[in-house]
């Protein structure tokens, strides 16, 4: 009798451990997904407060000055995207979001934030627009923020710069055999090129220019040459001729889906589908994304540390890929994991993910407010 009651109690305890955590951790997932104002605005306030103070290199400890500087750039860039998306989603606070977005863009234009790219190339990205150098690490991402600002403000004060960068990128793609511009000298990453292609799509949309044929050609090349044939994942790195130098990986594919969505929602959806099909695991209802399909390769600056092959970055990035693909189930399961390990907390200025740091929070805002393919009104 006593054994039976202990077994019953253990069974109930196991059921609680199995079911309760996912319910508790995922309680804000759908409000975020369906653009409820309160949680999204709290997150935006947290990021605004962070970027309005200085984002310093000392906030990062990647072990390489180049990456620390790159992450300062990434923080301002993703914050600008997130705030621009918030201005679209919540027009009642548009002026405030635009103001902070412009602050981020102004920071992105400073020499100190551009330094990571200038050091790597030996030339300044904006002063060498007429050259064939790629500079896609800076120009591709920067132009995306400029394009979004222009979409919000057709008379954007950055429009001339947006036109100049877009013209330079088009010229470089036209003369590139591989259709893959260099991030740094002799380093070519398809995900960075997807940011540049997304920016060109956004520029065409914002200006009304007819670039469909050219854009379609670029996107076709990405589909044919830079997606893994078996899995459909985005190749992480290629050489100067466009030959794959790495596998299709989770972090690049999930982030690439977010960038691609600005030019091709179909490509974005196919990348998300590949991530979901080949890399996603959901133990106890917590969604996690592997970095590699069938190998436990080492973690690097793109994937973050890997635990049993699961990548922190790929998992977080897939919140954005889920939104652009309209996949609420994936968003919900992955949000539970982000909640569990990211530990969102309110600090009086807004909500921030305690373990995310400046870059993690800016990324979360941009990815959790990424444009969904259609607004399907569902009760929260």
């Amino acid at each position: 009798m006593r054994t039976r009651s202990m077994m019953l109690a253990a069974l109930i305890g196991a059921a609680c451990s199995w079911g309760v955590p996912a319910q508790v951790a995922g309680r804000h997932a759908r409000p975020y997904y369906y653009d409820a104002a309160e949680p999204q605005q709290a997150l935006a306030r947290g990021v605004s407060a962070q970027v309005e103070r200085e984002v310093a290199e000392e906030a990062f400890h990647t072990g390489a000055a180049l990456f620390d500087q790159e992450w300062v750039f990434g923080t301002y860039m993703m914050a600008a995207m997130g705030l621009g998306q918030m201005a679209q989603l919540h027009p009642e606070s548009r002026e405030e979001y635009l103001r902070v977005m412009e602050h981020c863009i102004d920071e992105l234009l400073t020499d100190s934030v551009r330094r990571f790219d200038t050091h790597a190339w030996g030339t300044d990205a904006l002063e060498s627009l007429a050259t064939p150098q790629g500079h896609v690490a800076y120009l591709g991402y920067m132009n995306l923020a400029l394009g979004l600002h222009r979409q919000l403000e057709p008379e954007s004060r950055y429009r001339e710069l947006n036109d100049a960068i877009s013209a330079a990128l088009w010229r470089r793609y036209r003369t590139s055999q591989s259709k893959m511009l260099a991030t740094y000298p002799n380093e070519h990453y398809p995900v960075d090129n997807l940011a540049a292609i997304g920016a060109l799509g956004l520029h065409a949309r914002a200006t009304g220019a007819d670039r469909q044929a050219e854009l379609g050609g670029l996107l076709d090349t990405v589909r044919k040459r830079y997606l893994d044939r078996t899995t459909g994942l985005l190749i992480q790195r290629v050489d100067a001729h466009g030959t794959p130098a790495d596998a299709g990986r989770g972090s690049g594919s999930a982030l690439g889906a977010y960038f691609a969505s600005w030019a091709s929602p179909e490509l974005a959806a196919s990348l998300h589908d590949a991530v979901k099909r080949h890399l996603t695991r959901t133990p106890l209802g917590f969604g996690m994304v592997r970095e590699y399909v069938d190998a436990d390769g080492p973690g690097d600056i793109d994937s973050g540390p890997l635990l049993w092959g699961l990548s922190i970055s790929a998992t977080g990035f897939s919140l954005g890929s889920a939104r652009v693909a309209g996949d609420v189930e994936h968003f919900e399961t992955v949000y539970r994991t982000a909640h569990l390990f990211g530990a969102p907390t309110s600090n009086g200025q807004g909500v921030r993910f305690a373990s995310g740091g400046p870059l993690g929070n800016a990324l979360m805002l941009a990815l959790m407010t990424a444009p969904r393919p259609h607004v399907d009104e569902v009760a929260l």
């Binding site: 009651s5 202990m6 019953l8 109690a9 253990a10 109930i12 305890g13 196991a14 059921a15 609680c16 451990s17 309760v20 955590p21 508790v24 951790a25 906030a59 990062f60 400890h61 990647t62 072990g63 992450w71 106890l284 973690g299 690097d300 600056i301 973050g304 540390p305 922190i312 970055s313 569990l340 390990f341 990211g342 530990a343 907390t345 309110s346 600090n347 921030r352 305690a354 373990s355 995310g356 740091g357 400046p358 870059l359 993690g360």
Partner: protein, 121 residues
């Protein structure tokens, strides 16, 4: 049992309080991106603190609901069992009283209550 219950409740509330304090401290400090950066370059103190926090959070999310479930189930079973015991002893005393009355009058005793758990009738 009662002492164990107090220890469990105390431990759970202690963990919860520690977690909330740590979360508050993290929310009000500028801790670097520990989770996103490769671990080897993360300052050791930050790494240890973050790992401790994650373990505490995992305990609260996964272990605590299980313990609360077990504790609640055992309490309910104990309460049910105590109620059954009380009813059984009440039945037994009523049966005894009935037998005594029957013996005094020379009538057969009342039959036992059919709803008694464990009764063979």
């Amino acid at each position: 049992m009662k002492r164990r219950s107090s220890v469990l409740v105390g431990a759970l509330f202690g963990c919860l309080a520690l977690h909330e304090a740590a979360l508050w401290a993290l929310g009000h400090s500028d801790v670097p991106s520990v989770l996103f950066a490769p671990g080897s370059h993360t300052p050791f103190a930050y790494l240890v603190l973050s790992l401790c926090f994650v373990v505490l959070r995992l305990c609260l999310y996964f272990v605590a609901p299980g313990l609360v479930g077990v504790w609640t189930a055992l309490r309910i079973q104990a309460a049910l069992s105590a109620a059954a015991d009380r009813r059984a002893s009440a039945d037994a005393s009523s049966t005894r009283a009935s037998q005594q009355r029957s013996f005094a009058r020379g009538c057969p005793p009342d039959p036992p209550r059919a709803s008694h758990p464990g009764s063979s009738t």
